[in-house]
């Protein structure tokens, strides 16, 4: 199940005609065609990212890096996160350069808090505009944390106010009690004295009454003051409670919004996964746009989630980190359990695997290195891309090369094999760099004439293959093509090869693969005078 995308055909030149040129002219993305023009002049390696710096990505990265939680994480994890978001090295470096000094941001932490609160309110408006990436779904967490911190700060004031109020209450209560004590006891005393001394001295009444009244008034005043205090503090507490309630409501609303956003993001992602590649291209662009617009929060939360995962690195093999964990063999689990208990499996031996002579000279090679099959193809100036351009008719060579390539891959062989071989040999003779080109030619040719591809494959194999393969045309086509090659290849200089092949196939298998192949190669190589073991 492969999905194919419309990769743009190389606007710049295809593989250069001269095979000696190792570097390839770069091919740019569609939107940077103008740059392609400029880069054509000085050919650079195609393995370099030649996109210009995307300002939006850099700004997102700056927002991410400015987050206080991100600042506490190691630099390598910040870089790794941004790389996984698709930023190039230059963009990441630019973002690191732009992030302000840590000393400046510490002092304005409070303003940062309020700023983020403001951002919190503005972002929900922008978020619904574009679907966001999977890793942005955890956006809510630090956002909630930030707002929580803010409300906590406010509520802390409220709490301290409440404590103050309680303290005041206590003090006023105690004061009231003391005042009452001071008021009641003397009053009682005086009243008792008055009662006792009423008969004794009527004249003292006038003296004690005003003092009593004064004291009562004073006590009443104190009581009133205390009551007023109590009323005030209780009012303050009520107000603070109301404020707390309001903040809590706000928080709940925000959380609800974020939950809704997460759900919508999840839906969007599911949609994205279900779409074809064409849809994916536009969706990915939308995602990038979403990254651009929604700002740092998602990336912040992203970073947080990722940091938690990264910090849990263990020394176990990668097999243990899987979303749907493949069922491990039972004995594997036993060994893991044993090791976690601290036991050592019993079958381990002490082995000394150090080199007995660290300066042992390396043996001389007995066999010369062989050219790879793809290097042989390269010498013919053909590539898979050129395969599509079958109209090239620059003389016999290129036509034959195209045919040769087509032959190898999936085409009809119209050119006789022996003609192709001659072409290859001349090509190689003119090439300086391919010392072992001959062997490469033979290595390439050999697969065509290999013993296990008999001219007439037994019927059962064909039937099996046809039944098992979903597309019966292709492989049988291949077989036909190779069979054609075999039939076509009847030049005198390889007749002995064919005879050997037919002999081998008749005997039901190659007796000596190595010997056979080397003999085959020797016979082929004889005429070009190259010795090979």
């Amino acid at each position: 199940m492969a999905t194919q995308s419309t990769t743009p055909p190389n606007p710049a030149g295809e593989k250069p005609e001269n095979p000696a040129l190792e570097v390839v002219q770069p091919a740019m993305e569609d939107q940077h065609d103008a740059k392609a023009e400029a880069s054509k002049e000085n050919p650079t390696s195609v393995f370099v990212n030649s996109e210009p710096i995307r300002e939006e990505q850099v700004q997102n990265a700056v927002k991410f890096l400015s987050h206080p939680k991100v600042r506490g994480s190691p630099v390598i994890y910040r870089r790794s996160f941004l790389e996984r978001k698709g930023l190039t090295k230059e963009e990441i470096d630019e973002a690191f350069r732009r992030v302000p000094d840590p000393s400046l941001t510490v002092s304005s932490s409070q303003s940062a808090g309020t700023n983020q609160d403001g951002q919190l309110k503005s972002s929900p408006n922008i978020q619904p505009q574009a679907p966001t990436q999977l890793l942005q779904t955890a956006a809510a967490a630090p956002a909630g944390v930030i707002s929580k911190v803010g409300t906590l700060k406010q509520s802390r004031f409220q709490w301290s106010h409440a404590f103050l109020a309680v303290g005041l209450l206590g003090v006023s209560g105690a004061g009231t009690a003391i005042i009452f004590k001071n008021a009641i006891v003397p009053r009682l005393k005086s009243w008792i004295c008055k009662v006792v001394s009423e008969e004794e001295d009527l004249g003292k009444k006038t003296n004690s009454k005003p003092t009593l009244a004064e004291e009562a008034a004073a006590a009443a005043k104190a009581a009133a003051a205390a009551a007023a205090d109590v009323a005030r503090t209780s009012q303050e507490m009520l107000i603070s409670k109301n404020e707390e309630k309001r903040c809590f409501q706000e928080l709940m609303n925000l959380l609800d919004k974020q939950v809704w956003e997460m759900k919508s993001m999840r839906n969007a992602i599911q949609k994205l996964e279900g779409q074809s590649d064409h849809g994916r291209i536009t969706a990915l662009e939308q995602e990038n746009h979403g990254v651009l617009v929604t700002g740092s929060r998602q990336s912040n939360s992203n970073g947080k989630a990722e940091f938690d995962m990264r910090s849990a690195r263990s020394s176990s093999p990668p097999a243990s980190v899987e979303p749907s964990i493949a069922p491990h063999p039972k004995s594997y689990m036993e060994i893991m359990a044993m090791i976690q208990r601290g036991e050592r499996p019993p079958n381990i031996r002490e082995i000394n695997d150090l080199p007995p002579n660290p300066n042992q000279p390396v043996s001389n090679p007995q066999v010369a290195p062989r050219a790879k099959p793809w290097e042989v193809a390269r010498t013919q100036n053909t590539t898979v891309q050129v395969l599509h351009s079958q109209e090239s008719s620059d003389g016999l060579n290129s036509k034959l090369q195209d045919n040769g390539l087509i032959n190898r891959l999936n085409g009809d062989s119209t050119v006789p094999w022996w003609q192709r071989k001659n072409v290859r040999i001349t090509e190689i003779e003119t090439e300086d760099e391919l010392k072992n080109g001959f062997s490469g030619v033979q290595a390439n040719e050999r697969p065509v004439q290999r013993a296990w591809v008999p001219p007439q494959p037994p019927p059962f194999a064909m039937a099996e293959a046809a039944a098992a393969i979903r597309q019966p045309k292709k492989p049988s086509f291949q077989k036909e093509q190779l069979a054609d090659d075999q039939l076509v290849a009847h030049p005198s200089d390889v007749t002995d090869e064919l005879q050997r092949i037919t002999k081998i196939s008749e005997s039901g298998g190659v007796v000596e693969a190595n010997g056979g192949s080397s003999a085959v190669s020797t016979s082929e190589i004889e005429e070009v005078g190259f010795e090979q073991n």
């Binding site: 492969a2 393995f47 790794s80 291209i281 990264r310 979303p323 060994i335 090679p365």
Partner: protein, 332 residues
Amino acid sequence: MPVFKTPFNGYAVKFSPFYENRLAVATAQNFGILGNGRLHVLDLNPSGPITEFASFDTADGVYDLAWSESHDSLLVAAVADGSIKLYDLALPPSSNPIRSLHEHTREAHSADYNPVRRDSFLSSSWDDTVKLWTIDRPTSVRTFKEHAYCVYSAVWNPRHADVFASASGDCTVRIWDVREPGSTMILPAHELEILSCDWNKYDDCIIATASVDKSIKVWDVRSFRVPVAVLNGHGYAVRKVKFSPHRGNLMASCSYDMTICLWDYMVEDALIGRYDHHTEFAVGVDMSVLVEGLLASTGWDELVYVCNWPYGIGVICSKHEGHAFKWNKTLD
């Protein structure tokens, strides 16, 4: 089908670039968790079973190996204790290994030899680095440290002598040029760890990545924002992917779902073959450079299978009236 039973759990298999019938297998005891390792060098016999040419014991599991492209008898092994060991088959076993290069601080997970210059090789490790070595130097030539997590694979470009790609658990693939100080491209290829990558031998700008997310993605480095193809079909994480040396669009992959799959990414229905002969995680797969269609695989079931695709009858298993896609598990 020719089968070889290894005493330990298989981790990697590679064909020799010099001898058609030779291959090497890297194995580790106790699934590579903790234990010894062994490196086997096997010879294929068309008329009989697979025989062992040599084997080397190591103190820790061998996670990967690479054949030298310059010396026919030289092998590079990536060992779980972080060392890179060199073995010379022309020397007696008592003289082996000839080198033990210990620089990685964590397990060495992969080794790859430069097929163009033939003078250097790469090792990648769980210590987040890739190191470049040559045979003649006792220390690494360069260390590439940019990944944020284990580097599971480092593969040379088949045509550009100085370019290689690395796949890492930090979910990115990086393309490097040894002439440059740092990586030249970063592909955020998957959302989960990337366990393997390989270059298309016939189009040097195409790279395939295999990930824990069960998919294989094929990328063109010239327009790397969107993959050329996404290949789904494996039931679990894809452990290794290998492009065919003979056909540009063909690739083989092995997975924890115990199957080896063959893909043609230019076709709408990309899955063109599947082998399910392994009974445990299929962890290593390789296609021979010298013999078209020769395919070897190994897994945690301690078996090495060699088969020939798609013809069914081959140099190796011609005696068996074998089926193209169904293989017997018993040794013949």
